[in-house]
């Protein structure tokens, strides 16, 4: 496999609805920003990988609608759909196209309009098995809520610790002009907000967002020619667990993420994750998931995430900044969200994150999950070549 760099990223402002634009127009906006960032023309993109989670937009395969907005007519085009993981799986697929030598410049592009549907949870309920499980009324929030109840039971994590996750995310989002929800909240605000699905409250759950983003991958040779300050891809991993969530060994531990994390760190040459990684953009639409993900990826020991969060270890000025973008808790265009994590990771290691820049950030991790606690995708990017 060849060394690969990311030479341009772009994203739209995310909000509940973008009534000023159609699906393909949003795509055009995201792609145009990535081209602008890379100082490339659309003709220089050789191949496209497009990601979306189908039913949210109310259109069967919006990838077909979007092709013009992606600038892909007449070019190779592959669609990816892996639930919440979609965005980052799309990034990994575009990375593979360049790493393999199949193409020198490939673009990952994702658009999602969660806000056009009246009810995201009803759509998410169709993800579970219609024979055995759908009648039980589970939505995506159920995933986060079950993990929360189990983590509280097994490790003693608290409502307050989860509230701090929300507080930190909202503070970070205030510095990100692309973030959807931009309000300052206190732990009390979180702990007094409306109960959605016990133990999760309103301010522990993500919004429904509309928007698009794009990432341009290039071979080392092209990157040297085209980009003075690329983000270098150090490694990636993706994994899928069983569809059957009742077969997970313990819902308090995200074992399949641990396994993917070990593969990722091996590929990226990371021996001590929290020491060597400066920024982690974790896909956590629910506060509880930040706890599980920090532990699964070895950023702290099992059951230690809550106390470490209380100590401020994962704040902007902590040992490792978690979600400087404000994270998924403040912005969730579901099928694009994983790629937004990678966009932020790249901005951080190339020093372009403006008001939310983590000083001297050199190594950043992007993560996404999807399905019934089922899929994960991970990528590490660095300021320098590995």
């Amino acid at each position: 496999m060849r060394r690969v760099a990311i030479i341009g990223v772009g994203q739209t402002k995310f909000r509940t609805r973008r009534d000023d634009a159609t699906h393909e127009e949003l795509t055009f906006e995201g792609v145009s920003r990535a081209l602008e960032d890379a100082a490339l023309s659309i003709s220089q993109i050789e191949s496209f990988v497009y990601g979306t989670m189908d039913p949210f937009d109310g259109v069967n395969s919006p990838d077909k609608w979007c092709v013009g907005g992606a600038g892909a007519v007449g070019k190779p085009y592959i669609k990816i759909s892996t639930g919440g993981t979609t965005g980052l799986t799309t990034g990994i697929a575009a990375y593979h196209q360049v790493a393999s030598g199949a193409f020198d410049i490939a673009m990952a592009v994702c658009t999602q309009r969660v806000g056009v549907g009246d009810d995201a949870q009803s759509i998410l309920n169709t993800c579970v098995c219609p024979i055995y499980e759908r009648d039980a009324g589970a939505g995506a929030i159920t995933v986060g809520a079950q993990q929360a109840s189990r983590h509280m039971f097994k490790y003693g994590s608290t409502d307050y610790q989860r509230a701090l996750v929300s507080v930190d995310a909202h503070k970070n989002a205030l510095n990100n002009p692309y973030a959807h929800i931009q309000v300052d909240v206190t732990p009390e605000d979180v702990m007094n907000s409306r109960m959605i699905e016990w133990p999760l409250r309103l301010l522990e759950c993500c919004p429904r967002s509309d928007g698009a983003c794009a990432v341009i991958f290039a071979s080392e040779e092209q990157a040297k020619k085209l980009c003075p300050k690329p983000a270098w891809v150090w490694g990636e991993a993706s994994i899928i667990d069983s569809y059957w969530w009742g077969e997970r060994p313990d819902l308090a531990d995200w074992d399949i993420l641990s396994l993917a994390g070990r593969r990722l760190f091996k590929m990226a040459g990371i021996e001590n994750p929290i020491k060597e990684i400066d920024v982690a953009e974790l896909y956590a639409p629910f506060t509880s998931q930040t706890l599980l993900e920090l532990e699964a990826l070895g950023f702290c020991g099992k059951g230690e995430s809550g106390p470490q969060i209380e100590k401020g270890v994962f704040k902007m000025d902590g040992e490792m900044a978690v979600n400087p973008s404000g994270g998924v808790l403040c912005t969730n265009p579901i099928g694009a969200t994983g790629l937004v994590r990678l966009v932020e990771a790249c901005l951080q290691v190339t020093g372009k994150a403006e008001k939310r820049q983590v000083p001297d950030a050199e190594v950043a991790l992007a993560h996404a999950w999807g399905g019934t606690m089922q899929l994960h995708a991970l990528m590490i990017v660095g300021k320098h070549k590995r």
């Binding site: 009534d19 000023d20 039913p55 109310g58 009246d118 009810d119 949870q121 009803s122 309920n125 219609p130 024979i131 055995y132 499980e133 009648d135 039980a136 009324g137 589970a138 939505g139 929030i141 159920t142 809520a145 079950q146 993990q147 929360a148 109840s149 189990r150 039971f153 409306r194 109960m195 959605i196 699905e197 016990w198 133990p199 999760l200 069983s242 059957w244 969530w245 009742g246 077969e247 819902l251």
Partner: protein
């Protein structure tokens, strides 16, 4: 020239398509047992010996067919729980508690409702439906061969 700000038009659409899913041989047998005899069956993998619930016709870990039906009690223990207070289109009326329940004799957990207790106030409900709570199936009188033939699992201590 000052332009008049135009209103953005919205186009309404609907996507409501009925489907008829195939339950297959394995789930059909499982549902028949529920419907006719109020019995719950898991299925054992001949290789790793685990009893899967809900049952499937093959073990995905060993990649072999499963044929050995094993009766499982309609009683078990709540392993994780959440209690929903929001109403979503086409989904059950809140409040409802969703739990992963380990039934006696099964090696995996079944997702189902826990009910038969007052869930209206989450502060009280979370004390009634806890991890570790023993629950027992409450069956419908008129059964159709579907997961909802069990209305919910009720905490055994509850009156």
């Amino acid at each position: 020239m000052a332009e008049k700000k135009e209103e953005f038009i919205k186009v309404k659409a609907n996507w409501n398509i009925p489907y008829t899913h195939s339950a297959g041989k394995c789930a059909s047998h499982f549902f028949q047992e529920m419907k006719e005899k109020k019995r719950i069956f898991g299925i054992r993998c001949p290789k790793c010996q685990r009893v899967m619930l809900p049952p499937r016709s093959f073990c995905e870990r060993c990649f072999v067919e499963t044929t050995d039906w094993v009766p499982v009690k309609d009683e078990g223990v709540v392993d994780s729980v959440s209690i929903n207070y929001m109403e979503y289109t086409g989904m059950p009326k809140p409040p409802y508690a969703i739990a992963f329940i380990k039934l006696d004799g099964s090696d995996s957990r079944l997702m189902h409702f826990v009910g038969g207790v007052d869930l209206s106030d989450w502060k009280k409900a979370k004390e009634l439906v806890k991890i570790g709570t023993r629950v027992k199936a409450v069956w419908k009188e008129e059964r159709e061969g579907r997961m909802t033939d069990i209305m919910y699992f009720k905490p055994i201590s509850a009156k």
